[in-house]
Symmetry: C2
Subunit: 221 residues, 2 copies
């Protein structure tokens, strides 16, 4: 990227991570840990292959990413965040929080990956009956299932299947998120293609932290 040429900490950060796709490459490595080139491509649908290679090169030169050549028989190149790269987490967190209100918007034909959602869900969800029994809820909104476990007032969220979940929520991401956020009710969600099996009371158990929506809408244009 062309430098902004400003003696300003924010501008200097953006000189490094302000390019298109760059922060999303960091997101992938932050959310999934060490990745192969191919894994990164899968987590960044739409990126041109040469751009990914260039971003990785630039991030390596900036000390944000390092590569590790795994020896045979694996014979793969692994990319991971350096300590300096890990320090970008507060920036990613800030962007994630700010973007939460936008998750209720349309998104015709948007790509979805389960690991993109775990952070957002962790921000949003609270156990509204902390004293209740442990409950396990599985979300099926992308290729990988998402596990949500409520236990003793704490909410744990991760990518991967649950053994014998108490309920399964499946369907298009937006109505599923809307349901979990309490913006719509189950019948309305089902009309939008959401499937639910299990005790509906579980849905009352998971509540949404107030997401201060300043309004994400665009009026002009």
């Amino acid at each position: 990227m062309r430098s902004y040429g400003e003696y300003c900490a924010i501008a200097k950060s953006l000189d490094v991570v302000g390019d298109r796709w760059t922060l999303l490459v960091v997101r992938e490595l932050a959310l999934r840990g060490a990745c192969r080139y191919t894994d990164l491509r899968n987590g960044l649908p739409g990126i041109a292959s040469n751009l990914l290679a260039e971003r990785l090169r630039d991030l390596e030169a900036a000390g944000v990413v390092e590569r590790e050549e795994a020896p045979p028989p694996v014979a793969a190149t692994l990319f991971r965040l350096t300590a300096r790269g890990e320090e970008l987490r507060p920036v990613l967190d800030g962007l994630m929080r700010w973007g939460l209100p936008l998750m209720t918007e349309q998104g015709e034909g948007e790509a979805v990956r389960s690991h993109w959602l775990v952070g957002a869900l962790a921000q949003m969800l609270v156990d509204e009956q902390p004293g209740g029994p442990a409950v396990a809820l599985e979300l099926q909104v992308a290729a990988e299932p998402i596990a949500i476990e409520l236990r003793g007032g704490s909410v744990e969220i991760g990518v991967g299947p649950l053994e014998g979940p108490d309920a399964i929520l499946s369907g298009p991401p937006r109505p599923v998120m809307g349901l979990l956020l309490g913006l719509i009710e189950l019948p309305e969600a089902e009309a939008d293609g959401v499937g639910f099996t299990g005790d509906p009371a579980i849905l009352d158990r998971v509540g949404a932290r107030a997401v201060s929506v300043g309004r994400g809408a665009r009026d002009g244009e």
Copy 2:
């Protein structure tokens, strides 16, 4: 900007503020409050006029910025952050903290504005003798002076002149910052063009919080 087309809170934030210059426009409004178009241009040296106009239009449509037509005799258009725009401060803070270690780098021919530095200085500086008498130090590194006041263990920093400062530190921004950070000593700074008037003990009074430098260096390229 072309949307990333991802159902991900981070990607959706970047759909709004990920364009080149966009976050720097927000920075200007966050640091300086309501601004006129001309003030913004001055705070964003190098931006093309049409780009600034386009970014402001996009940010307004996204609900981040609002414009206010001041009535005559002022007869100026003022741009300010909306509540939703103010919520980007954590993102700006994160980028500023991450960029602090980069402030020690070269920067041949970089532009400087005093208001860019107050946040960074506020992050860095601590009063190392909290019980000492109140001390006022003025920095002259850009058009506007920067006021640093140590009083009762607290450090206050702002743009503007001081009345009868106890010391004045002037010269190129990088050695001045290096001196305040404790990376170099006064004689070395003076060799780099820094001027200092007042009691040198004052420089021992202002200490630097540990800026965890992961290393900002580039090795390749």
